[in-house]
């Protein structure tokens, strides 16, 4: 490589050597290229922070306007036009319930599948499972929604909208994430611990349940939290199978269910309200205001889950020691 040519050996005296060792001897072109790269790379990083800062700032500044106890504790029932009313209680409830059921479906399947891959999996079945878990992580969320719809439409007929269908859609997205993170955590458990347990005459399933899982539990909990955080903001599948509704529904097995992301989209879509001049109870931007405040709530929930995941990882990890 041309640029790697060694500089000519120091011809005479300390000055020449000194010049070379301080880098002044480097061909200017190489030095400039190196500097330019440093700048480019740092700029790339700075550029990535622009949207992060902008999104955070906008959501905070626009969202705080309506973000209060009233907003969090009422639904949209009976709210219309530009009324200075309405909240997201029904959407928070729906999001929590649908995500809860998605977690209840995904975690047992995902964890057992990870156990299969790490502790039992050999040969072609294990290879196939690994491969298709990878493939599953790439399923677009809208396709997961269509799948849940297709599944429930076969049973309940066309036009079905159910909270649990939303949970099923989210599970399709969540299971591969849970499998991946659990698998990683189980592989981190040193084999020596398994052997120690076997040598005590403990059967394999008890070794897995009481030694391997016990050792990896903090990591698994962290992984599950992060998986929940990832699907809790999903919009498209819920828009399709859970539908929209203005009032509270606490039964995932019956009827439409509002969720926070769908609520944000719904409010956004309604756009500006055209108020009659002089109308007392009419805010033109009310729908956008609600959307931003709901977005703030959603981000806070996601951040709380992320934080919780990190805290679990930090405080419940097995103590190494002294």
């Amino acid at each position: 490589m041309a640029t790697l040519q060694t500089p000519a050996p120091p011809a005479a005296g300390d000055e020449e050597l000194r010049r070379q060792l301080t880098g002044a001897g480097l061909e200017p072109r190489r030095k400039r290229a190196d500097r330019a790269m440093t700048v480019v790379v740092a700029l790339a990083f700075a550029l990535a922070l622009v949207p992060l800062v902008s999104v955070t700032w906008t959501v905070l500044s626009r969202g705080l306007e309506r973000f209060d106890l009233y907003f969090l504790t009422v639904s949209m029932r009976g709210v219309f036009g530009g009324m200075d009313a309405g909240g997201i209680y029904h959407a928070i409830l729906g999001t929590l319930l649908i995500t809860l059921f998605a977690t209840l479906i995904s975690v047992p399947i995902g964890l057992l599948c990870a156990i299969y891959l790490v502790e039992y999996g050999r040969g072609r079945l294990a290879k196939a499972v690994t491969f298709f878990v990878d493939v599953m992580t790439g399923i677009p969320s809208i396709v997961a929604g269509l799948f849940a719809y297709a599944l429930f439409a076969l049973v309940f007929g066309p036009g079905v909208r159910l909270g649990i269908a939303g949970s099923v859609a989210l599970s399709v997205l969540m299971i591969p994430v849970v499998v991946r993170s659990c698998e990683e955590m189980l592989r981190l458990v040193p084999n020596e611990l398994r052997e120690a347990s076997y040598a005590l005459g403990v059967p394999k399933y008890l070794t897995i349940l009481k030694v391997v899982l016990r050792t990896a539990i903090a990591g698994i909990a962290t992984g599950v939290m992060l998986a929940v955080a990832r699907v809790i903001g999903e919009t498209a599948p819920l828009l399709i199978v859970a539908g929209t509704i203005d009032s509270i529904n606490t039964n995932v097995f019956d009827g439409r269910m509002m969720t926070l992301p769908v609520y944000i989209f719904g409010q956004y879509r309604q756009g500006n309200v055209s108020c009659v001049a002089g109308a007392a109870d009419c805010i033109p931007t009310i729908n956008f205001d609600r959307a931003w405040a709901a977005a703030l709530t959603l981000i806070l929930i996601v951040m709380a889950l992320n934080l919780l995941a990190r805290l679990i990882a930090r405080f419940f990890a097995p103590k190494a020691g002294r």
Binding site: T6, P7, R30, A33, D34, T38, V41, F45, A48, P51, L52, V55, T58, P108, I109, L112, C113, I115, Y116, L117, G121, L125, A126, A128, V129, D134, V135, M136, G138, I139, P140, I142, V143, L146, F147, Y149, L151, A153, L154, P158, I175, V179, P203, K204, I208, L209, G233, T235, A236, L239, G243, P261, I264, F265, Y268, A295, L298, I299, V302, M303
Partner: protein, 333 residues
């Protein structure tokens, strides 16, 4: 000191002769049951993926078997001519176009960021900086949609105008630039931001795996940092970068909400990135039409969803294949 107990504690191994106590018992039954259960979970994953495919095909079938004329009659938004392929075609085009723009903007940026974190930033800061980029992934897509359409779209107008003014001779930047900027260009920018974290994370991982020896060999030859990266890091990471980009592409292809909320839809095969009302993606189209669609409409939309599924599946499998090939051939261990 003798360990022979005078009294055996309860719960300690009772003194059976080996012949009695070493044969299969209840535990081994439970053992096999547990092994079966976890294997069944593995099989469930395969079944689930098969189910996704089968159910989508079942529901999409009516749209393929019904005559185009009848579909056009029953669905208000179905084209009069061209049939189902004519309907999917522009959507596929729009989907690929938006995802490719995102990839072209996102990949170089992500490589830069990953290099910054792995080789330029001070060691102590690196992890925190990586976490900052990961935060981008924590923002829900619907919030990106909100931000893209209410904050970015108005602000990107001058950029679009500049592009149209000076690069307008190039078909991609054919003017006049739309105002507000509900264009596939804006969508591409937002998608690029959304896929940054995944590409960056994979690239970072690969860069950090560069064999230390290669890097030190380059350094010992008097290479500058840039030269180390060019000679030791990038060649080693090439297939890793490709697969990272593919994963990002997979994400961008399936992204729904940001597109739905930003793009002003249209059904043309147009390369004019700066014009509104020209493009639409499969995912956004489904989310847009599905809530109000009738039976025939739903079936048609599911058929388009199936097309999206196949495209993303192909992209992801290709990405995994590149990764697995790399695992086989990389000398690093």
């Amino acid at each position: 000191m003798s360990l022979t107990p005078t009294r055996r504690p309860e719960g300690a191994e009772p003194s059976l002769t080996p012949a009695e106590s070493m044969t299969h018992g209840r535990a081994s039954l439970a053992n096999r049951a547990f092994a079966r259960l976890s294997t069944a979970s593995g099989v469930t994953i395969l079944a689930l993926l098969a189910a996704v495919t089968v159910f989508l095909v079942i529901e999409a079938l009516p749209a393929v078997t019904t005559s185009p004329a009848e579909l056009a009659e029953r669905i208000s938004w179905f084209p009069e001519t061209g049939g189902i392929l004519g309907y999917v075609g522009p959507l596929v085009f729009g989907t690929l176009l938006a995802a490719l723009i995102a990839l072209l903007i996102g990949t170089p940026l992500a490589i830069g960021i990953a290099l910054f974190i792995s080789h330029y930033a001070p060691r102590r800061l690196a992890q925190g900086l990586g976490y900052l980029v990961d935060l981008l992934a924590a923002i829900p897509s619907v919030v990106y949609g909100l931000w893209g359409s209410l904050v970015l779209a108005p602000r990107i107008v001058p950029v679009q105008d500049l592009l149209a003014q000076y690069l307008g001779w190039f078909p991609l930047f054919d003017g006049p630039a739309a105002q507000p900027a509900r264009t596939v260009f804006t969508v591409g920018v937002v998608l690029a931001v959304m896929i940054l974290p995944i590409i960056t994370a994979v690239c970072r991982e690969v860069f950090l795996q560069t064999p230390r020896l290669h890097e030190e060999a380059a350094l010992a030859l008097g290479a500058t940092r840039l030269e180390v990266i060019r000679t030791a890091v990038l060649p080693f990471a090439r297939s890793g970068i490709i697969s990272a980009a593919m994963l990002g592409l997979g994400r961008a292809l399936g992204e729904t909400m940001a597109v739905l909320m930003i793009l002003s839809p249209g059904f043309a095969y147009s390369f004019a990135l700066l014009q509104a009302g020209q493009h639409q993606t499969i995912a956004a189209n489904i989310a847009n039409q599905f809530p109000e669609a009738n039976t025939a409409g739903v079936s048609t939309l599911i058929a388009t969803g199936l097309v999206l599924f196949v495209i993303t599946l192909a992209v992801n499998m290709l990405a995994r294949w590149v990764v697995s090939r790399r695992a086989d051939f990389s000398g690093a261990n």
